[in-house]
């Protein structure tokens, strides 16, 4: 937990048709064990469903896992839906098999870090704490 009374809420989502959910589940479990509140959407989510979940759950971050190669379609869609719904301070980040130049392009659009295979989950935990803390300093709530 970042401090005594704050639990960050994170959506872990698998968009599209791809069923490779090992990474998403491992990250969800690691975040849970690190004290985050994790909402795992399960498979085959549309960008709309993911953004609605973020809105309904008042999430601090949306973490999307993509291994299907559809990242250049899916991330921009989620990002623009998030902006349309006013989720400006909510972090969108993710991971999967995403070539570095694509990751760079997505980051220019406003997507947060994209973690590749072999990433230590502690690095993800640390990044989320810092980045959410920066974007939503007011995120202290719930007990």
């Amino acid at each position: 937990m970042p401090d005594g009374e704050r639990r960050y809420r994170v959506i872990v989502a698998k968009p599209g048709l791809d069923g490779h959910d090992r990474g998403a589940k491992v990250v969800a479990a690691a975040l849970r064990d690190a004290g985050f509140e994790v909402i795992y959407t399960g498979l085959h989510q549309t960008p709309e469903a993911i953004v609605n979940a973020a809105l309904q759950e008042d999430a601090d971050a949306v973490c999307v896992s993509i291994l299907s190669g559809a990242h250049m379609t899916v991330f921009p869609e989620i990002l623009s839906l998030m902006r349309a719904k006013g989720l400006h301070d909510v972090l969108l980040c993710g991971g999967g098999i995403i070539p570095p130049e694509d990751a760079e392009e997505l980051q220019k659009m406003g997507v947060g870090r994209l973690f590749g295979p072999g990433t230590d989950t502690r690095e993800i935990v640390q990044y989320l704490r810092e980045e959410i803390g920066r974007r939503r300093p007011q995120a202290a709530r719930r007990g």
Binding site: A24, K25, A29, G42, D120
Partner: protein, 536 residues
């Protein structure tokens, strides 16, 4: 990490290999009887191999899994592989094809041709195999919830090449149970899915006798994070479930069981993997004979394809993956595999490039022709350690079978989320073992290089999606609309009643009906499966 910080031991996560034992003796084998527990190669219980002469008679089939972009792109890759000495084809389909959506469906957006090739129509299937004689190659198709339809496209494409179905050799994966357990490319709920699977078994027994109707797959179970033991136990249990469903549908066991084949993963823990393959054959043979009363030795004989472990490959220092793959391939060959896919070094980064896939194929050729490992059958038989592990797999699998039976069988266990949770837990344990350096992965948690050199990777042109959408729409516009509608009606009424669906799929394929249209009809009749989202 400096050498002094490096742990003295690196232990493979979730292994059945005992932690502290360093040497094995005859005392570790209990009441091991070589006649009973090993027999001879090609004889019950087939521990030593499914065939008498094994690689002396025929080397394993070198079968690289490939597919990307349009049917035309993949056709080019197939020809490239055949030119370089590959001996069988293996098709990777894209996600929409696996999930039953045509390329122009909104849910297919961004996914067409990305993780494999898009095949929506008979015409796509014909393009995929243009100039490749279907009576001569054997083709494996990794396809599950839509396997019956893709097989119908394949049979119809062969027909147009003038090749009769009796001559077709190959495999469709058609293993829906492991989809619910691990790979997650399902459409319908388990029971209607099982009905489609048994329709395929029955149809092929009559019309496509050399076709392997189900490739019961542990590969994906392992990739989802299972241990070797879980891979073996769940896969064999899935196999037994297909046997039970086939028998329940009124098929005599010896009529369909000889066409069941298996697909395993070869991971990094070398001896454990070899023992896993040997145990698989023995467990299958014993249960097929003793519990299901199979009398035909072909029904006892477990044959399998192997793929080296994609999940063992690292994005860091990708060249090291060549070495990993070679060692895993060696384990598969020492375990007696019938065909083999070796992964390309760049697969943790993208679909394989032409150069990378060639090195992967060369790895198999070096193994086959330079090392002498194919000269002697089951060379590790009688190794105290390997026999101990083989026995241990059999015992431990028995315990997992009991657990699943207690839960009401595999389908009930899947509905309870049991194997899914066990695998998710094992995957997380694996990750923690890596992070806490109980298991060293070179280049990832040790021997790390601060500056990685990028390697060239395959890019898919976004134009692929547009072209493919145009092709599907052109087929719909060109065909005889009345015949297509009639064919779809035929599928609907067979789905409602009990008629075998295969002839209806074939008729629809010939009438230019698309994959997505056929699946839409089935989805309306059978409903859709939804998995409760859980990471345990």
């Amino acid at each position: 990490m400096t050498p002094s910080e490096r742990p003295a031991r690196s232990r493979f996560p979730g292994t059945i290999v005992p932690a502290d034992k360093v040497v094995y003796t005859p005392q570790d084998l209990g009441d091991f009887d070589p006649e009973r527990d090993l027999g001879r190669p090609g004889e019950y219980p087939f521990t030593r191999g499914p065939y008498r002469d094994m690689y002396r008679g025929k080397l394993w089939t070198m079968r690289q899994f490939s597919g990307y972009g349009t049917a035309r792109d993949t056709n080019r890759r197939f020809r490239y592989l055949l030119e370089h000495g590959q001996t069988g084809l293996s098709v990777a389909f894209d996600m929409p094809t696996l999930m039953g959506y045509d390329s122009d469906h909104p849910r297919a957006r961004g996914e067409v041709g990305r993780e494999g090739v898009a095949v929506c129509t008979l015409e796509d299937m014909e393009t995929l195999f243009e100039g490749i004689p279907l009576g001569e190659v054997s083709t494996s198709m990794t396809i599950n919830s839509t396997a019956a339809i893709l097989l119908a496209f394949y049979i119809a494409a062969a027909e147009r090449q003038g090749v009769a179905p009796e001559r077709l050799r190959g495999t469709i994966q058609n293993d829906i149970l492991k989809e619910y357990i691990a790979q997650k490319e399902w459409i319908f709920p388990p029971l209607p899915s099982m009905r489609i699977v048994t329709d395929v078994m029955a149809y092929c027994a009559d019309h496509v006798p050399k076709w392997n109707t189900i490739s019961i797959s542990g590969y994906h179970i392992r990739e989802a994070g299972s241990t070797a033991l879980q891979e073996l136990a769940y896969t064999l249990m899935d196999g037994f479930t297909y046997v039970e469903f086939g028998m329940r549908a009124g098929l005599p066991v010896d009529r369909f069981a000889p066409r069941l084949s298996f697909f395993f993963n070869a991971h990094m823990n070398f001896f454990e993997e070899i023992a896993k393959f040997r145990a698989a054959r023995r467990i299958w043979a014993r249960r097929m004979r003793e519990r299901y009363g199979a009398r035909n030795p072909e029904s006892w004989r477990l044959r399998f394809h192997t793929q080296t472990a994609g999940c063992s490959l690292t994005a860091q220092q990708p060249q090291n993956n060549i070495v990993r793959t070679a060692l895993e391939a060696l384990a598969a060959v020492l375990g007696g595999t019938q065909s083999l896919h070796t992964n390309s070094m760049d697969e943790a980064l993208a679909l394989p490039s032409e150069e990378a896939v060639k090195i992967a194929l060369r790895t198999q050729q070096i193994l086959a022709y330079e090392t002498g490992v194919a000269d002697v059958i089951d060379p590790l038989a009688g190794s105290y350690f390997v026999e101990f592990l083989t026995n241990r797999f059999e015992e431990e699998c028995g315990r997992i079978f009991e657990e699943i039976e207690k839960r009401g069988g595999m389908i009930a266990a899947i509905e309870q989320g049991y194997p899914q949770r066990e695998i998710a837990r094992a995957a997380y344990e694996f990750q923690k073992d890596v992070e806490e350096k109980r298991y060293l992965v070179v280049g990832v948690n040790d021997y790390v290089e601060p500056q990685e050199r990028p390697i060239p990777i395959l890019k898919i042109d976004p134009a692929v999606e547009r072209d493919q959408i145009e092709r599907v729409r052109a087929v719909r516009a060109r065909r005889n609309a009345a015949a297509a509608a009639r064919a779809l009606e035929g599928i609907r009424s067979a789905a409602r009643g009990g008629d075998n669906l295969m002839p209806r799929f074939l008729e629809a394929a010939r009438a230019g009906v698309t994959l997505g249209e056929m699946v839409d009809v089935l989805r309306a009749e059978f409903g859709e499966w939804r998995e409760p989202p859980t990471y345990w």
